[in-house]
Amino acid sequence: MTDSKRRNLVAALGAAPFVLPMLTAAQSVGTGSKFKVIPSRERIRDRYFPNLSLTTHEGRTVRFYDDLVKDKIVVFNMFYAKCEGICSPVTRNLVRVQKLLGDRMGKDIFIYSFSLKPKDDTVPAMKHYAQMHKVKPGWLFLTGEPDDMELLRRKLGFVDPDPEVDKDLSNHIGVIKFGNEPLERWGGCPGMKSPDSIVEAISWIDWPKNQTSLKAKGGTR
């Protein structure tokens, strides 16, 4: 399905639910099948990337899927501005990852840090945090409605199944996730890994033509 067709479908679904049965019939697999043909990329979007309204550290309002994820290589992590302990080393690591990614940052690769304390992480607080870490374009700190941020955290798997452990926010900061949205390649790794190895892990989900160019070290693997 082309992008424009998909957009039309999304628009139709959003605006007029009664259109759905017709579309379903048109999309069904063969005669009488109960299944719809939906591109896996759309199913991933529907499953994991709610198109929430978020606010950046620069004060812009953005949509999570449409503006931040679609057509991009993305790196996700969680933060809160007043966090000590594990936050600082992970953020410092990502600053070095940002440097290693060079001019790809902000072009086709983006880093998004989502607030775990959206009430505290106001635009000025996030902006201060970003400036303190000398964050460059292509890396956004993001906040939003507390319920939305909680949903996002769960959708992206920054959770622990034990509710008590889950309450300890530091448990959600040691992990980063990344993916290539159009290629449907997703992965994750510890945020405390070396910047080199984080970049290598990201290189594995990079565009095929770039499979080697991201790596700090050579080799054909």
Binding site: D148, P161, P163, G174, G187, C189
Partner: protein
């Protein structure tokens, strides 16, 4: 506020409440059967008639899609269980295999074959890792599935090989060339970059499938499998130690960070080794049920059964992989040899079943359910790839991801009856089972077995006729008397939301090895799990271990199953075990890891090395 937020949040809260409620009930001492009695849980174990308790499918992220509560319905016991096709050797390979990596021709291997000259390959195999289309359910119930498989099939073809005889060990040597023809478009999950592990061959380590030795699209990789017994170049020169024989192996993708999605997508197959004792012919050697050609039901009674569990998208009916799950993924559809809940027809005689669990995260405890909820006993003859000293009569066999169990099931005199292979181990989340075993008929029936085949001769050994006084029918276990050069401790734990071993994460592929084993030495390893929340199937490549103690207790002298040689240790809640390894003959890179493949992909791995120096790190 975005358009879906409120609705989803409400559902998220409902689900959280349900999980909390259930946890409270369990904490209060209610067992599954109590819930059943109270009418809060159906006998299928899946649904509860009122909202707020449902535990299924308990996506362990704590966030699960209410829109897709479970896989679409399928009708069990319609499809025949496939007998796995046997891979035929090829006459030659082009280009011819070389000792040094043939980089110019597109080989991804980076290290030369270390034992090629000593054991020149006698037979050659070639397979392509590629996309394929398969039906997993009765026609019309689920759409055709695009999988990634060896030659486009899943599970992959069965490789049937023989050890060379003790006097001529080189005769077992083979070379397998794998080509990566996987597509760029993955249909939602899967990384088209692969490395193939022969689990758990005594294989020179450049051919073993080290997680970092992966090949990209369009490349090939030559795996040299000498199929020799451990000890061949050390303790038992020229022959190897027959007590190290392995018979039931499997191969699977081991791509670092991406093993779960690639194996779930289909990249796993089976490998059998026969020798002059376990011959594949019930008239010779140990007289285990004949393998025949693997296909003919009148002559083939040695059946490989590959179990796995999967989830299908409720809207598209297509295989679904939970991309951001780090705890473990449970399916609600149970497959055997690629089909959901199939049927297998047998003759009234003895069979050897080789059971393998390819995961991703579920543990099984298999029973054989007979008429009127009776439980049929059977004979366990192996742990993982290794025969026990003699068959042991059991009512069930528990095996976690990557473990294998070979069993003899006797259907003699059972003509006309129907049996089921039933998993009675309750498991509601990917972290591991809670230990509860449900009653007969209350578990998941995975395979229907109908005894309606023709009466055929049975010359296989009846394990019941082996005298109780005979201690050893197969091979004796090797002794564990040699002094260990070092004792190392590996603590499997969780920190900062990540899996860790000894408080550390899996390193970079380019990092120095975390531990170095001295070739031809003995080591004792202590595996620790300090958690009551998680269980881990711990796997070491290349060598099997023998268990010296579990929680301070020596395995009972009669407990053949706990004393058996293994390559996966099922590290249960709050458990500590000491195991004994001999590392012999070959050198190279080697991983120790959790084989819950979701844990494995999220850093629960230590990358080490066998070399001629070794190190003294007791907590790598």
């Amino acid at each position: 506020m975005a358009y879906i937020s409120k609705r989803n949040l409400r559902k998220e809260k409902e689900k959280q409440t349900a999980a909390d409620n259930r946890r409270e009930l369990i904490a209060a001492g209610f067992k599954r059967r109590d819930l059943l009695k109270m009418g809060l849980l159906t006998s299928a174990g899946m649904l509860i008639p009122k909202k707020g308790l449902s535990a299924h499918p308990l996506n362990t992220r704590g966030s699960f899609d209410e829109d897709e509560p479970s896989s679409p319905q399928t009708t069990p016991f319609q499809e025949l269980m496939p007998r796995l096709p046997v891979l035929a050797p090829v006459a030659s390979l082009t280009p011819a295999p070389t000792i040094a990596p043939n980089t110019a021709a597109g080989e991804a291997r980076t290290e030369p074959h270390q034992a090629f000259a000593q054991f020149p390959p006698q037979r050659f195999y070639e397979m392509s890792e590629q996309a394929g289309t398969v039906l997993m359910a009765p026609p019309g119930e689920l759409p055709p599935q695009t999988i990634w498989g060896f030659n486009g099939t899943t599970p992959g073809p069965l490789i049937v090989e023989r050890y060379g005889n003790l006097g001529s060990p080189g005769n077992g040597s083979v070379l397998l060339r794998l080509r990566n023809n996987l597509p760029t478009q993955n249909g939602g999950f899967g990384l088209p970059s692969v490395t193939n592990h022969l689990h758990n061959g005594h294989t020179p380590l450049e051919s073993d499938g080290f997680p970092c030795f992966f090949m990209g699209q369009g490349q090939f990789y030559d795996h040299h499998y000498p199929n020799v017994y451990a000890g061949i170049n050390s303790t038992h020169p020229g022959t190897g130690d027959i007590r190290e024989a392995m018979h039931t192996l499997w191969y699977h993708d081991h791509r670092i960070d991406h093993t779960a999605e690639n194996t779930y997508k289909g990249l796993a197959g089976e490998y059998i080794l026969f020798n002059e004792f376990d011959t594949g012919n019930e008239n010779t050697g140990f007289r285990l049920p004949s393998f025949g050609d693997g296909q003919n039901p009148l002559t083939s009674f040695d059946i490989y059964m590959v179990f796995n569990d999967k989830v299908f998208d409720s809207q598209t009916g297509l295989l679904k992989f939970d991309l951001f799950n780090t705890d473990g993924i449970l399916g609600d559809k149970f497959l055997v040899n690629g089909k959901i809940q199939p049927v297998f027809h047998v003759s009234p005689r003895r069979y050897r079943f080789r059971w393998l669990n390819t995961g991703p995260s579920r543990f099984y405890q298999m029973f054989i359910l007979g008429p009127n909820n009776t439980t049929k006993s059977f004979w366990q003859i192996s742990t993982d790839g290794n025969l026990l000293e003699k068959p042991v009569q059991v009512n069930s066999a528990r095996f976690s991801v990557a473990e294998r169990v070979d069993v003899i099931v006797d259907f003699t005199g059972q003509a006309g009856k129907t049996f089921y292979i039933e998993n009675r181990l309750n498991q509601d989340d990917g972290r591991g089972p809670d230990g509860e075993v449900v009653g007969a008929g209350q578990g998941d029936k995975i395979l229907k077995i109908i005894v309606d085949g023709p009466v055929v001769p049975d010359n296989s050994i009846d394990p019941a006729t082996i005298p109780a006084t005979q201690a050893v029918y197969f091979y004796p276990f090797p002794d564990t008397n040699d002094a260990a050069r070092i004792t190392r401790t590996f603590r499997f734990e969780r920190g900062n939301g990540q899996w860790q071993v000894n408080g550390r994460l899996v390193g970079d592929c380019d990092d120095a090895p975390r531990f170095r084993i001295k070739r031809n030495s003995v080591e004792k390893w202590v595996f620790q799990n300090n958690s009551g929340g998680w269980q881990h199937p711990i796997h070491m490549h290349f060598e099997e271990f023998q268990t010296l103690s579990i929680n301070g207790q020596a395995p009972r002298s009669t407990g053949l199953i706990t004393r058996g040689r293994k390559d996966v240790f099922r590290l249960e809640h709050n458990m500590e075990a000491t195991v004994y390894f001999r590392f012999r003959d070959f050198v190279g890179r080697i991983p120790l890891h959790c084989h819950n493949v979701v844990h494995e992909d999220h850093a629960m791995m230590v990358l080490g090395q066998i070399d001629d120096q070794g190190d003294n790190r007791t907590q790598p």
